[in-house]
């Protein structure tokens, strides 16, 4: 396949590291070379967590500014903050539901209007898929399945050479039994909203 560089961004606890790892597993299972980079440690304590999955003929584990083929944002403010990774060719997939940082609560800044965020993003990149990810996760029966919703939207967007079944297989083998149904449902809901 062509080289694909996917950047995932979210807030500590939203599960984007798991999403990028599962995407890497699915690529490996499909015989596509992949590297996944993650950030651990202090940054995870409620801060911004970025990860990347690079597939195809590439061995560098990270994505430079302007070089993301896909940006998957789990939170609209963080999607906007990470926009430097994009070019006018990039596909952006973003959750529309904010998780305001505590700095906003203590009056150190204001959270921009989501409509304004989306106008800025849409004007700069090739294509935007936006969804109410937390609502879809709730609908799937597990508020923590936002990462599965976002993975579903990524696969549903059809820009990667990865079949939904392969991705679901990896989700099935990596998920606790109690969450399996809700995770798969969340994945499907994400896929539908990207179609």
């Amino acid at each position: 396949m062509d080289t694909k560089r996917c950047v995932f961004v979210g807030v500590g606890g939203q599960g984007n590291l798991l999403a990028s790892r599962l995407l890497g597993e699915a690529a490996l299972a499909a015989g596509i070379p992949a590297v996944v980079s993650e950030i651990h440690g202090m940054a995870q304590r409620g801060g911004v967590v970025e990860s990347a999955v690079l597939m195809g003929q590439v061995t560098s584990p990270i994505v430079s500014n302007g070089e993301a083929d896909v940006l998957v944002g789990f939170e609209p403010l963080e999607t906007l903050r990470t926009l430097g990774k994009c070019s006018k060719e990039t596909l952006v997939i973003t959750n529309l539901q904010p998780l305001p940082p505590f700095t906003v609560s203590i009056g150190q800044g204001t959270y921009p209007a989501v409509d304004g965020i989306m106008d800025l993003v849409s004007a700069k990149v090739n294509r935007v898929i936006s969804l109410r990810g937390n609502d879809l996760a709730e609908e799937a029966g597990n508020p923590l399945s936002l990462n599965m919703v976002m993975l579903g939207a990524l696969i549903g967007a059809g820009v990667l050479d990865l079949a939904p079944d392969g991705m679901k297989e990896v989700i099935s083998t990596s998920t606790k039994k109690a969450f399996l149904d809700s995770n798969l449902k969340a994945f499907d809901l994400g896929m539908e909203s990207a179609a």
Binding site: V11, G12, R21, G24, L28, P33, A34, V35, V36, S37, E38, I39, H40, G41, M42, A43, Q44, R45, G46, G47, V48, Q57, V58, T59, S60, P61, I62, V63, S64, N65, G66, E67, L77, E78, L80, R81, L83, G84, K85, C86, S87, K88, E89, T90, P100, P101, F102, T103, V104, S105, I106, Q108, G109, T110, Y111, P112, L120, K124, V125, P143
Partner: protein
């Protein structure tokens, strides 16, 4: 069964770089492992901790890196294959044994895994530990991919046993925390016991012995140099006249750049996988075949300087450059675009890639710094200290989650240089100023390097209060045990060392043990310490809620809510505590019941008693 014990040679698994190192060690017959955890190395010992509960592997979380290396030295002297892991600044702590262990050498293979952290994702500096190979004269291997993390670990054990020297495996964050496909090999059996052959006139490093050992060490260096000249990962590819030399993760950026620029036929590319001793003859031959050289290495111009020296010795006058080309600098980490631009600029190649989007019209975005978790006991302790001392006291702090007390609204971190510096620097602050000093140290950091400073404080009659934030685990690096932990909760048997007994044993007379979720009592205890003429220690005991949840020790408590009939919107809760479970909605404080863990600190802070448990 632990996934790294999968006995399927030839199978490919997606492994984290740190998991690949652990697997490589198991394939090399690792028998003994020690560490002090530190990002980005922590997931290596995590595997050993888990695997040691299923196999005969001996593993320990040692008190600090110096202890870890010395414990490992004893095991390697008995002939066991031993691994010691640490982050780059941990190597500073271990430097004392390292330098003389290099003279004494090892019997069983010993691999020291060193994790550098360019960009300081989770560190206080970005020192380049390739200098430690040069300082100690120990061989250093530098993998470039997850697969090489495993393969070079195995090679490092073999090299170590052949040379009878510890071998340093140097990694960086972008190798430790990258997942990639790794082909498994055969697992080797674990040896439970070796035997020490006495030889005091080799192992006891009095001057007369060490004079011989230094000579022996230099002879081993010559052997290591010969190995480096033919080392498989000291690899030259391509036959062009443009020379490029790279190490570690930069090998990937450089390889991708050469392919993206379509200059494969013009470039001669050298990957340096065994970076000490540098293969001088191989490099000389390389330099003779090219017109100019670009060196791609993160952090210090270590290879660049050495290449210039080798060129000078051989009368080679071609340009050799690294730092200063394109964006290549001594700061932070490199990235693929930066390296591509540097290669293109240096050799005059052309590249037209996509341009990053223009961000000049973005509004000011609110920051999202990391924050203490909802229900974190550190927040409660900080609140109590501020109540007792106001905001004038100096707060030397230390390394752990609690360093996040730096940020507003807590703003209670004034000085930090390394593990343990809270205690010792307090001695200096209190003696050199008339300001009050209240310092903070975590439980694991206290054992790591707080105790010696405390003895100094007692012996030299310094006057300050040390607050030990005892959350029952090494929280920041992922909940590893330490000597003060109830290890039973993690399923292992270890003798617990009491912080209070250690503190009293150091000679501290004024000791207060508090439960920080009892706000008034904690404030009273800290107030009492304020009036004491000498060294006071307050031990603030409450489990890290993430650890408590993970180990089934969480108390069942109801989350809290705001009663808006009583709330007068003072916002003391959000302004003083800034708990992430709180947010503002239409100018009122709201508590997210899914995030609140019921610590009840905000309920005690509220002047109107307007914060109450949720109703059923």
């Amino acid at each position: 069964m632990h996934k790294l014990l999968t006995d399927s040679p030839g199978k490919e698994m997606l492994l984290l770089g740190n998991e690949a190192v652990a697997r490589g060690a198991l394939e090399a017959g690792l028998s003994f492992a020690t560490c002090y955890p530190g990002t980005p190395s922590s997931e290596i010992p995590l595997q050993f901790f888990q695997i040691s509960q299923e196999t005969d592997l001996y593993f320990e979380y040692s008190t600090n890196e110096k202890v870890a290396l010395e414990v490992g030295a004893g095991a390697a002297a008995c002939g066991l294959r031993t691994m010691v892991t640490m982050k780059h600044v941990g190597m500073n702590v271990a430097a004392d044994p390292l330098m003389t262990l290099a003279y004494v050498g090892v019997k069983g293979g010993m691999v020291i895994v060193n994790a550098d952290d360019p960009f300081m994702f989770s560190s206080q500096n970005e020192q380049d530990n390739r200098f430690y190979a040069r300082l100690s004269g120990l061989p250093m291997l530098e993998p470039t991919s997850t697969q090489e993390m495993k393969d070079m670990t195995i090679a490092a054990f073999e090299l170590s046993e052949e040379l009878e020297l510890p071998v340093i495996l140097r990694t960086t964050t972008r190798l430790n925390h990258v997942r990639g496909a790794v082909k498994l090999g055969d697992l080797k059996p674990i040896r439970t016991k070796g035997e020490f052959q006495k030889n005091p006139f080799h192992f006891v490093t009095v001057p007369a012995v060490s004079r011989n050992l230094h000579k022996l060490h230099l002879e081993k260096y010559d052997k290591a140099l010969a190995k480096s000249e033919s080392w498989a990962e000291n690899r030259i590819t391509g036959g062009g006249r443009w020379g490029v030399v790279a190490n570690g993760v930069s090998v990937n950026y450089t390889g991708d750049a050469i392919r993206d620029l379509g200059i494969e036929d013009k470039v001669r590319f050298m990957q340096v996988g065994m970076s000490w001793p540098l293969p001088r003859d191989l490099i000389t031959g390389f330099l003779k075949e090219v017109d100019k050289v670009l060196v791609v290495e993160e952090l210090e111009p270590v290879m660049e300087t050495d290449l210039k020296a080798i060129a000078q010795e051989n009368g080679i006058t071609i340009p050799i450059q690294g730092k200063g080309v394109g964006g290549l600098s001594r700061l932070y980490e490199y990235d693929p675009g930066m390296v591509r631009k540097a290669v293109a600029d240096y050799f005059g190649a052309e590249y037209k890639g996509p341009a990053p989007v223009d961000l000049s019209d973005l509004p000011q975005l609110p920051a999202r710094p990391p924050n203490l978790c909802a229900g974190c006991p550190h927040r409660a302790t900080y609140y109590a200290v501020k109540k007792a001392y106001g905001s004038d006291a100096i707060h030397p702090t230390d390394i752990g989650c609690y360093t996040l007390g730096l940020l507003p609204p807590i703003s209670m971190a004034d000085y930090l240089i390394c593990m343990g510096s809270s205690v010792s620097s307090s001695c200096g602050f209190s003696r050199a100023s008339d300001q009050k000093v209240v310092s903070f140290i975590g439980d694991s950091t206290f054992f790591h390097s707080g105790i010696t400073g405390l003895v100094d404080a007692v012996h030299n009659d310094h006057k300050f209060t040390l607050v030990v934030l005892d959350n029952g685990t090494t929280a920041m690096t992922g909940h590893q045990p330490h000597p003060g932990v109830d290890a039973g909760a993690m399923g292992v048997q270890r003798t617990r060392v009491s912080i209070e007994e250690v503190v009293r044993g150091c000679g501290v007379k004024d000791v207060h043990v508090v439960k920080p979720f009892k706000v008034n009592k904690t404030v009273e205890a800290i107030q009492a310490s304020k009036d004491y003429d000498g060294v006071s220690v307050v031990i603030s005991e409450e489990l890290c809620p993430l650890f408590a949840k993970a180990t089934g020790q969480m108390r069942k408590t109801k989350p809290f809510r705001v009663n808006y009939d009583k709330c007068k919107n003072h916002r003391d809760c959000i302004n003083y505590l800034a708990c992430p479970a709180m947010y503002l909605q239409e100018e009122k404080v709201v508590i997210d019941k899914n995030l609140c863990n019921g610590c009840a600190v905000c309920a005690q802070v509220c002047p109107e008693n307007a914060i109450l448990p949720v109703k059923d």
